[in-house]
């Protein structure tokens, strides 16, 4: 019996698998719930609850999945196609935070107990990529417990599924004390008992907000595995005997979002909305010294970037990643041209417990913008306030990171560039609402042919890169530290499955 | 005097303070014979209490005995270590303080406080101590002592409390008692009762005592001899009758004249001009010289020694043979103020 004592900076927000589309929430839930497929460390797809999948040969708007047999939920119920249908429908409900991922699914057809078909609105060749975090729930359990709709997280709803879990995963939730303690133990009837090492029999997941305490906990041997290792401590940890550090780039870009759509900003004293002016945005883009951030704030643990697309994904092209030289004179000129020669004042909202040195990045940005006359006050807060405030459009200028679990550009477009409508654009707090762009995005969704699709993607990128709707900063490198009896590689999505971990004592 | 119960010689007490060393007592000498009650009078701040505290070794820190010696039945008791002192305190020297309200610990019953003292000094058992405590209370005139012994101090009246304090001071039958203004806090009518109890007990047990007070009436009534202190020095020591009726020292003379009398016809009181100097500003020579109506040159230069005159001792150059005008005892006739 081996306990994995696992710590990171923030708690998972809820146990409800469809309520929050956020990394820390998914990572813990992955131990308890399972999607049809998962994305492996190398980026490939790995069968999980589905053993086979593919687009129907007859109809490119139909995806067919063969489900794994002999899978049971923690409550003993069998996992069947009914449950898949239920889970997808649940994820499409208005209170779901995963609805963009399944927006294209028109209908889920239960063929038999272990076969389902997803009918999409037009062809959706990358649908499979969107399902890697879409967890399967037990219909019966949800109905029994009045949990057929996802928890409305932003409204602070009391919800059974938020505190209890019934997945098919290798671990069963034993205890959840928000902010302090999550315990899960090995599920005896797990379908993969013989397939995986399953050396770890118990998971003890603790959020430790204070970075030094977190590192101290690892150094003193109180935890075995730490995520969100502060960059400044990597060197020290690497030199410590008995500690292993793994690192690698994450499939996630860090960027600044701006309110480009409204006529007037509310979190600042500017006349009108300076962000609505492309000149201003270009000036900002020129003023942000990405390399300095990389070197000092990130201590080299990042890769500066000029686009929202992480280099991992389909649709990324070299030219997009390039970013302008820092040119303050030109930037000032641009500000002048835009009519903001005297600058303006705005509040930058920033999380302080989500991304690597997020607060530090924001502070650095504040300084850099100061040089082109933009006075920025910084409000940094916990991700649990930051994220709702983004989805509620309560910010004009914010820092956000975006991972692309589908490894495809469309995911970025749907969430970050599409206007907030038709169940899309839910993380687009820029108020960007460009019918043309939306139409272009819609076309990608309907395109069955991959080459044609890629062309359309490139067109969108060209369009949005030109518009400078966001100020991309970098792709961050993530580091994990652990006792040397473990070897947990970095996953591009910062995912991790305890069932895969082999313990070498 | 070898038969003196207590003898004090050249006692000097000092307080190191922020502004230098303060001499609170400067060369005090006196004796107390067996069964004798010595009254100590003087103005506030003259050093009366310090004298008492010095004898029993309870000077408030940082006060210290800087010179002289104190002997109890011939045995030196200044500069004893605390454990030795503890065997003297209470057992051989009893002490009564001025304020009966604050002298008793409010959180213990009168009986507890009596019994613990008796137990400690006489090594009696609990029941005997208690019995003795009851007897003592009866002796000092507390009615129904069996009932009152378990009361707390605040349940007693002022006069009764002071009697309890006297009982406490006398419970180990000490050779010697120091009473520091034992009646100042009490009403006139009760004051008389307490003085009576005190005097009776001393007489009955043959205990010697020092009675510190600034009330001449109390001295007149209770003391055999009296010492007058002025600015930490002895002005005059003598039999009560002599000192009160025919004071020698000009200060004593003034003091006696300034007391309104019951028989006098409401005439002007004798008034000593000025006030007693602060201890850090005692003039050279005789401490009284700036206020003295009969001041001489020598008084401003030299400190007068303790001079035997007419059976009393006085520190005044007037009575020194070397001075030109040897005066006789005279009635208090310090000049009327201008």
């Amino acid at each position: 019996a081996e306990t994995l004592r696992w710590a990171r900076s923030a708690d998972n927000l809820t146990m409800d698998p469809h309520s929050q589309n956020s990394g820390p929430t998914h990572v813990f839930n992955h131990q308890i719930y399972e999607p049809l497929i998962i994305r492996d460390v190398d980026g490939s797809l790995r069968p999980t609850l589905a053993t086979e999948w593919g687009i129907s040969e007859d109809d490119d708007t139909v995806w067919e999945f063969t489900l794994r047999e002999g899978v049971v939920f923690h409550n003993g119920n069998d996992f069947t196609a009914e449950d898949v249908a239920f889970s997808i429908e649940r994820a499409q409900k208005p209170t779901s935070n995963m609805k963009e991922l399944v927006a294209s699914i028109r209908e889920v057809e239960v063929v038999d107990d272990h076969t389902v078909r997803f009918h999409t609105d037009g062809p959706d060749p990358i649908l499979i990529d969107k399902l890697t975090n879409l967890f399967m729930m037990d219909r019966e359990w949800a109905e029994e417990n009045n949990a057929t709709e996802p928890q409305n997280f932003d409204a602070g709803e009391e919800h059974f599924a938020a505190r209890n879990a019934n997945g098919t995963g290798p671990y069963v939730l034993q205890q959840r004390v928000p902010d302090s303690r999550n315990v899960a133990t090995l599920f005896e009837d797990y379908w993969g008992r013989d397939e995986f090492p399953l050396d770890i029999t118990e998971i003890l997941y603790t959020p430790i907000t204070a970075a030094p305490t977190r590192v101290a906990a690892l150094l003193s041997g109180e935890v075995d595995f730490v995520q969100d290792v502060p960059v400044q401590d990597i060197a020290r940890l690497e030199q410590t005997a008995g500690v292993r550090v793994t690192r690698g780039p994450e499939n996630r870009t860090i960027f600044l979002g701006m309110n480009v759509g409204d006529d007037q900003i509310t979190h600042g004293t500017a006349e009108g909305n300076p962000f609505a002016s492309r000149e201003v945005r270009e000036a900002i883009n020129m003023a942000v010294d990405r390399e300095a951030i990389q070197q000092v704030v990130m201590r080299g643990e990042s890769q500066p970037l000029g686009t929202l697309a992480p280099p991992f994904i389909n649709g990324y092209q070299e030219w997009m990643g390039e970013y302008p030289e820092v040119d303050l004179d030109r930037a000032l000129e641009l500000m002048e041209e835009a009519g903001y020669g005297d600058g303006f004042q705005v509040t930058l909202h920033c999380p302080n417990d989500r991304y690597v040195n997020d607060e530090g990045i924001c502070q650095a940005v504040v300084g850099m913008l100061g040089r082109i006359g933009i006075t920025t006050s910084l409000e940094s807060r916990s991700l649990s306030i930051h994220f709702p405030s983004i989805s509620n459009l309560e910010t004009d200028f914010y820092l956000l990171g975006w991972g692309v679990p589908t490894f495809d550009s469309q995911y970025v477009f749907d969430f970050l560039y599409h206007c907030r409508r038709d169940g899309k654009g839910s993380w687009n707090a820029t108020r960007l609402c460009d019918d043309e762009i939306d139409a272009m995005i819609a076309e990608i969704a309907g395109e069955g042919d991959l080459d044609a699709r890629n062309e359309k993607i490139a067109a969108v990128w060209e369009r949005v890169q030109e518009g400078i709707y966001y100020i991309p900063i970098h792709v961050q490198t993530i580091a994990r530290a652990m006792g040397d009896h473990l070897d947990i590689p970095v996953h591009p999505e910062n995912d991790f499955w305890a069932k895969d971990v082999a313990v070498n004592r | 005097m070898t038969d003196a119960v207590l003898s004090v010689r050249n006692l000097v007490v000092e307080f190191p303070t922020r502004r230098g060393i303060l001499r609170a007592l400067d060369g005090i000498s006196f004796d107390v014979g067996p069964g004798e009650i010595l009254g100590v009078v003087g103005e506030s701040g003259a050093g009366k209490s310090i004298t008492g505290s010095a004898i029993i070794g309870l000077l408030d820190p940082p006060g210290r005995i800087a010179g002289g010696e104190i002997r109890l039945k011939g045995e030196r008791i200044d500069n004893l270590p605390t454990e030795r002192l503890n065997r003297i305190r209470g057992k051989r020297i009893g002490m009564v303080f001025q304020d009966p309200l604050t002298s008793l610990n409010p959180l213990f019953t009168v009986g507890q406080q009596l019994a613990e003292t008796i137990q400690h000094h006489l090594r009696l058992g609990e029941r005997e101590s208690r019995q003795r405590a009851i007897d003592l209370l009866a002796e000092v005139g507390i009615p129904a002592p069996e009932a009152r012994i378990d009361n707390y101090p605040h349940q007693f009246s002022g006069g009764m409390r002071q009697r309890v304090v006297i009982a406490l001071a006398l419970c180990a039958e000490p050779d010697f008692v120091i009473a520091d203004e034992p009646t100042t806090a009490l009403d006139v009518s009760v004051q008389a009762q307490v003085i009576q109890v005190f005097r009776r007990l001393c007489r009955e047990r043959g205990t010697s005592a020092i009675l510190i007070t600034h009330d001449m009436g109390v001295i007149a009534e209770a003391a055999d001899r009296v010492a007058v202190l002025y600015a930490g020095r002895i002005a005059e020591v003598g039999a009560v009758r002599d000192v009160l009726k025919r004071p020698l020292h000009p200060y004593t003379q003034g003091l006696m004249g300034s007391i309104p009398s019951l028989t006098g016809e409401g005439e002007r009181l004798v008034q000593i001009p000025g006030a007693m100097p602060r201890l850090n500003a005692i003039p050279e020579g005789c401490a009284f010289n700036p206020r003295c109506p009969r001041v001489m040159d020598i008084c401003r230069r030299e400190r007068p020694p303790l001079i035997d005159a007419d059976g009393a001792c006085v520190t005044c150059w007037l009575y020194d043979e070397r001075t030109e005008q040897p005066p006789a005892r005279e009635a208090p006739a310090v000049g009327r103020p201008a």
Partner: protein
């Protein structure tokens, strides 16, 4: 020195009746009951201290009336009521014919206030330690609008000289003075508004005898010079004897006897007065035995019925236990509240001889 009295003041003095102060049926109760809740639960009644119970006296112009009595007999309470610091429960106090506690007289009161002042027991506590002496003395001058600016300075200097201090002393703070000097500053302050009537509540009991003599002499001098009237309070009979023309003896809030000073010491009438005089320690070594009063002072919360002195009175009879004695005038001019004296069964024994 205090300047000559203004003409109108003199006129007023002449015009007014012989009494500066008339006190009639003065009563003061203090409610010291436990809380309402406590009383309700334990069924206790209200508890009231009758600090002063129906006291009447007059003070004639230029005279010194002394009040003596043991602690708690109500001396200070009377003093506070007389100067208007404490409202009486019943009775009236007239100063120059004006009832100072009658709300109708409130407008006149400001003017009246100038005419009476008080000297307190503790010279240490009665001067604001944070004020310079000159400001302390100038305060009444300012408040009553008597003088302004330079005139105030000069007047303060004068007053200081009057009490035998120097004008330069005005620059100092109270703590730089000795007790006797401080009491003199208090007197200077009291004199500032040129009062006619001074209430002195134990003005020397905090002082040493030698200093006491200075103050008592000063007070007498001032009286002679300014024609002041004193209500003099003390528990020291010798001091009272020295200062007073007439003496009132208080016992448990009631006047036992009021008599001319000499007469009282020569021939005390009330048994309590006798025992008080008996209890004075004999400094003159007349060989007189001191005879303390037996018993304790009764609890003012629960005073004995009838004559309050009866439990301690060697002459007490049945009537004393039942009936409260009323004051009656003796031939000698003394007012005595005692059944025994009235009925003649309290012996005429002179003080000093034990009368048991």
């Amino acid at each position: 020195m205090v300047g000559p009295a203004p003409a109108d003041l003199v006129a007023r003095r002449e015009a007014a009746s012989d009494s500066v102060v008339e006190v009639r049926g003065l009563v003061r109760d203090f409610d010291v009951s436990a809380s309402w809740l406590h009383r309700t639960l334990s069924g206790e009644p209200r508890r009231v201290v009758k600090a002063v119970g129906g006291v009447s006296f007059d003070i004639r112009r230029g005279e010194t009336l002394a009040l003596v009595g043991e602690s708690g007999s109500g001396k200070s309470t009377i003093a506070k009521m007389v100067v208007g610091l404490l409202p009486p429960t019943a009775g009236s106090i007239r100063i120059d014919g004006t009832d100072i506690w009658d709300p109708a007289n409130a407008p006149k009161l400001r003017d009246l206030r100038r005419r009476f002042q008080m000297i307190f027991q503790d010279p240490f506590a009665s001067l604001n330690p944070r004020w310079r002496v000159r400001d302390i003395i100038a305060e009444p001058l300012d408040v009553f609008g008597i003088t302004r600016g330079r005139a105030t300075r000069d007047r303060v200097g004068e007053l200081l000289t009057t009490v035998k201090l120097t004008p330069e002393d005005g620059e100092k703070y109270p703590h730089q003075f000795s007790g006797g000097q401080r009491q003199r500053i208090c007197i200077a302050r009291a004199l500032a508004s040129e009062p006619e009537f001074l209430v002195c509540d134990e003005p020397t009991s905090a002082l040493d005898v030698s200093v006491q003599a200075q103050i008592l002499n000063l007070m007498r001098d001032l009286q002679d010079r300014l024609g002041l009237t004193y209500l003099f309070i003390s528990h020291n009979l010798a001091v009272v004897r020295h200062m007073a023309d007439r003496i009132g003896v208080l016992y448990l809030g009631g006047l036992a006897e009021v008599a001319p000073a000499k007469a009282m010491f020569r021939d005390p009438r009330h048994p309590y007065t006798r025992s008080l005089i008996d209890a004075i320690p004999d400094i003159d070594m007349t060989g007189r035995e001191r005879t303390p009063i037996t018993g304790e002072i009764p609890n003012p919360l629960d005073p004995p019925p009838g004559c309050t002195f009866h439990p301690r009175c060697p002459f007490a009879r049945e009537r004393c236990r039942r009936e409260v004695p009323r004051a009656f005038a003796e031939a000698s001019g003394a007012l005595v509240a005692c059944h025994g004296v009235e009925e003649g069964w309290v012996g005429q024994a002179p003080a000093g001889q034990k009368a048991v």
